[in-house]
Symmetry: C2
Subunit: 207 residues, 2 copies
């Protein structure tokens, strides 16, 4: 087996097992067995569990942001539409079978104090997500796109944890409504002329 193939299989196995069961509940031998790779090769490719976990999170970061950006780009529309499409995509993600919250928040809570490699990857991921929102927010005609991006980031983070802990809240829909309200309120000229109509329609459709 090619070393690169083995690395791919190991990362796929790590993502499946770590995300589903948590990190400390999955042993190196579990990952090895799921990937069908020898322990020796595993340790040649990833010299410790922390390295494997960091690589898993790195791969997941790339995939997650890629799928989000693809969905948003496919939606098209104005900057406002694209920012709202972020929350549509969150709703699709939350509804996927096996959804267990944000892998990065989970990993941070699990390894918070004792895994600097992992902490760095988590921070990088959240920072890149924030930058992505900021890029979209720069397309708005608002005086403070960074503030809007950070407020939407808070909404998205809150939706992820709420969806994991209290699935019945339909967090993505509430986050979408809140995001629309924040976008309207952030316009220096006030909400667009039909904002009231849109708000009423959004509320009644969420009953």
């Amino acid at each position: 087996m090619n070393r690169s193939d083995a690395a791919d299989r190991l990362l796929a196995a790590a993502e499946k097992l770590y995300y589903a069961r948590g990190i400390h509940a999955v042993g190196m031998d579990d990952v090895r067995a799921e990937a069908g790779v020898s322990l020796k090769l595993l340790y040649q490719l990833f010299p410790s569990k922390e390295h494997l976990v960091a690589a898993y999170l790195d791969a997941r970061d790339e995939g997650w942001r890629g799928r989000l950006a693809d969905h948003v780009a496919a939606t098209g529309g104005s900057a406002r539409d694209q920012l709202l499409a972020v929350f549509d995509w969150l709703g699709l993600w939350f509804a996927e079978p096996g959804f267990r919250g944000c892998a990065f928040i989970n990993a941070f809570g699990e390894l918070g104090g004792s895994a600097p490699l992992v902490i760095a990857v988590v921070r990088r991921h959240k920072g890149l997500f924030r930058e992505y929102l900021l890029d979209l927010a720069r397309g708005l005609d608002v005086p403070d796109p960074a503030g809007v991006a950070e407020q939407l980031l808070l909404l998205a983070e809150g939706a992820m944890t709420a969806a994991a802990v209290l699935p019945e809240l339909r967090a993505a829909r509430q986050a979408h409504r809140a995001a629309a309200a924040l976008l309207d309120a952030s316009l220096p000229s006030g909400p667009p002329a039909d904002a009231g109509a849109r708000r009423r329609a959004t509320q009644s459709s969420s009953a």
Copy 2:
């Protein structure tokens, strides 16, 4: 030593150690040593680690919600003021030394799949926080207090995780601004007359 005193000391030790280092990084003997209690008595009071963790989270739930409610009640003012005071209190909490995010989210990420007692306590805590926000939101003159409460819940949850992972974002301040905007937008008659002035003042004071 009284059994009730021993339980109190054990819960205090558990809170200090579990919150600071995470749950699986703290052994039963660490808690026993910190509390100055014998292992035998520990197991008489809490028959397993999972019971001890659940009891720790229950005690923390009570303390956390109590401190929040005290701060909000001491603030007084309108329902709107009290809801915003929730975010003021979050800012104070985030700034405390040793802040490491929400203990319940951390525990959920750490034990997500394998500790039903703990999951139940986490869900109860978040449910009670949501009910608290809902009680405050019922004092607003808005058509959908439940929606407002849930949107503010998302903001608060997002602020907690963002503050833990990216402290430099000053999440509480952004969450406060977003909450004010959401409250203005949720009024059926539109924002109060001075909402624009308040928004501008809030923005400039955050530079």
